[in-house]
């Protein structure tokens, strides 16, 4: 493999030599220039892969050299490392590619930054094959790479989504797409008929996650794609809700692992598309298994019980309030957060169950606690996709005292707080309220209270120091409690705005 050649132009000769020696020790070739004029000459003659310059380089300064070489087509893509005694603004600085370091230099960090920059620049500049999927399908492309025993990363983009396939000696080592990997990710990409691809040769160090041979993998993948298309009408609808049938009893032992995986996921009372998303098995296999389990009566399918569409959940004023709250905070980019503070995990699960009836809500498949069975739930449990490209995530944080630092740490872009109380947790009301107070010390946000089960309302109100005008919402009464609680919360946003 060609060695990385670095041109070093630092005013201080001792520093330049020390950096050159260090980089040489790390396997890089180095050339040094005492001033900007010589650096310019060497940059054109030698074609370095990286240029490290002093901002105060004699004859031609670092920034001037950068601008000159950026205009030359042979050197325009070369990443720059700027070294200076003080922070400076550099016109045309390419974030992620160029580096700015203040003296004193730490060589380990300098080397790490250069490696990363070369990696970024390399991924943009060394495409060996590129084209469109309409001209060459992914399966054909993989076969071609297999026959030529290629090594590198194949990036496939379609409809704004990008997936990667890692290939070594022509064999498929792994595939990544969003949160999916291995066969699941690869087979999803097989569905793409339109899009672009680019293959970048590079050494693949990732472990082999796909065990099947390339030939078998391609045949199996194409079979699943064909069958999925032809049997689409016979498979369960993605939006229908599946539940375990209590009358069916327990699932016998010794069946295929995918069956136990699906049963576990269905236990949470999920929509079909959530089960498909969360299972690590390829989509078609999951649909087929759900279908087979439904046919055997182990699970029941309730068509259209899931996501409701066609009715407005939030009014225009509420959406505007949320948008203002998000953009009013520092750096919010269409993403807000509602913190869930609860006395137990089951009450969170119950609240989420109600939320699933609301339009635009989806259970977060990347959730840090997929089973919702922990004592102290922590992580994102769901997201509302609101109109105008806004996301509102429901984020649960534990309220036991020694988790206090998490409250503020994860309350960025806070829109509101929902406090969830169940009858077993009435003794923890004070902790819950203390957590809320602590969060609101540094943030302004409205809050609502939701109770579940037999909770003494008077004692609860006293414990939470609620005024008569503040409502306690009750879960499990079939009155769209979650929706009402959210409306109340967002009305609080409006009030907050007025008071400002």
């Amino acid at each position: 493999m060609k060695k990385t050649r670095v041109l070093i132009g630092l005013g201080d000769e001792e520093e330049a030599n020390a950096l050159a020696a260090f980089l040489y020790g790390m396997g890089m070739e180095t050339i040094t220039a005492p001033d900007g004029a010589r650096a310019l000459e060497l940059a054109i003659e030698e074609g370095p892969s990286f240029i490290a310059v002093d901002m105060a380089l004699p004859v031609i300064g670092g920034e001037r050299l950068f601008h000159t070489l950026r205009k030359n087509p042979h050197t325009s893509r070369v990443p720059f490392l700027f070294v200076s005694d003080a922070p400076a603004e550099i016109r045309g600085f390419r974030a992620g590619v160029d580096i700015f370091l203040k003296r004193p230099l730490n060589f380990d960090e300098t080397y790490a930054r250069m490696r990363q920059s070369l990696f970024t620049a390399g991924s943009e500049g060394t495409k060996e094959i590129e084209g469109t999927l309409s001209h060459m399908s992914l399966a054909d492309l993989l076969q071609f790479l297999h026959l030529n025993r290629k090594e590198g990363e194949l990036k496939v983009t379609s409809d704004g989504r990008t997936g990667s396939v890692f290939i070594k000696e022509g064999n498929i080592y792994n595939a990544l797409l969003d949160n999916a990997e291995r066969e699941k990710a690869l087979f999803r990409m097989f569905h793409w008929a339109e899009g672009r691809f680019e293959f970048m040769p590079k050494s693949v160090t990732a472990p082999k996650r796909i065990k099947a041979s390339t030939g078998n993998l391609l045949m199996e993948g194409m079979r699943q794609v064909d069958e999925f298309r032809s049997k689409k009408d016979q498979l369960p609808s993605p939006d229908s809700v599946v539940r375990l049938n209590p009358a069916a009893g327990s699932v016998p032992k010794g069946l295929q692992p995918i069956i136990y995986d699906i049963v576990q996921l269905v236990k949470a009372g999920a929509r079909v598309k959530d089960v498909v998303e969360r299972s690590s098995y390829p989509d078609y296999e999951v649909y087929q298994t759900i279908s087979a389990l439904a046919a055997k009566g182990i699970i029941t399918e309730a068509e259209g019980e899931g996501e409701q569409t066609g009715w407005e959940f939030l009014s225009a004023a509420e959406l505007l309030g949320i948008r203002e709250k998000i953009s009013g905070g520092s750096g919010g980019q269409g993403h807000g957060k509602i913190l869930l503070l609860s006395t137990s995990a089951p009450v969170v699960a119950e609240f989420i169950r109600e939320c699933r009836g609301l339009p635009g809500f989806s259970l977060n498949t990347k959730s840090a606690f997929p089973e919702l069975s922990m004592v102290n739930p922590l992580g994102e449990v769901g997201v509302f996709r609101l109109s105008g490209g806004m996301d509102l995530s429901l984020f649960s944080v534990p309220t036991v005292r020694n988790t206090g630092p998490l409250w503020r740490a994860f309350s960025g872009n806070l829109v509101g707080i929902v406090l969830l109380i169940d009858e077993e947790g009435t003794a923890q009301i004070k902790e819950l309220e203390a957590a809320k107070r602590d969060i609101l010390l540094s943030k302004r946000a409205p809050s609502v209270y939701v109770v579940k089960g037999v909770v003494d309302e008077g004692a609860c109100r006293k414990g939470l120091a609620l005024s008569d005008t503040e409502r306690l919402f009750r879960l499990g009464k079939g009155e769209e409690t979650a929706a009402k609680a959210f409306h109340s919360l967002f009305a609080g946003l409006h009030m907050e705005e007025k008071s400002v």
């Binding site: 203040k102 922590l378 998490l406």
Partner: protein
Amino acid sequence: MKTESAPALAKGLNVDRFYDGFFLAEYGRLEAARAKRYSSPFSTVLIDLGEGATEPAVLEGLASGIVAATRDCDVAGLYDGSRVMVILPETDYFGAASTVRKLAKELEGNENGRKAVFSHATFPRDGRSFGELAGSAIRKADQRKASVWEKEGFGGRLFWEILGELTSRNYKGFDYASFDAGAGQDISEFFFDQVNELIVREITREPGRRGIMYYAAKNLSSSLPVVKNLGSAGAVAAKVFLVGEGEGSIWEVGNAMPLMIDDPRLRETFFTFFLNDETAYAIICKENWGATFSCFHTSDFGLVEGLITKFQQEYSLQEQLG
């Protein structure tokens, strides 16, 4: 210029570009109006000198140092008897944080300067008027004075000494807390990984937001969930450093820079420091016998900033906060 600004100079102090409270408040008010009009950031730095620095001679020495460490466009002056404020036009949170570092370094040689407590506030995250920003900076200075960093005098101690202290004590607050994790404990040994994954998700959710994260673990590998999540995300503005010993593939992870530090202490203590303009969080876990861990975590900005600074200084890393 000197003639024009002379009446506004702080009374009795013979220091150029160092103004009195009235001028400072007026300038701050105009700067806030300008920031609102053009939607640009500006920051204030508050230096609480304490009671010992109210003597004109002492104050004069400190004021000279402050003026020398700031830019020509910055406006420094006496906020009240013992507090100095510097107005930094067109400066965001990170710029203010690096000014604080610069000022602290400048005043290090002065006995009263060493005792000074620094805080900063930025428009619009901490307030939309000069009064709100000043109030926010004062509140932060008070919090800083009450923080573990100041109380325990961590500023004068070594990085690993501080980590040892934090993991051996029992903290029970909202800002600082200790807990045991691992076998037989309420909190699982995976808590550390879980929190790190959530931090990475916060980073990737807002890719344009600047910040810094140091993730130190026993063995760095590209198969770690934190590393995988970072690698599969698009480009992020936050700087993420992976600290420790690791395999070759770690060099090819996107959005993260490995810092190969061969230090035996990193094999039994792992930590994460995360800081951006809205969030500060640090978690430190020390491995004990029998797969249990003594952990400490905090959301105190002062402590997290202090830990990051110490770590950078003692391992000669780039001084940066985002």
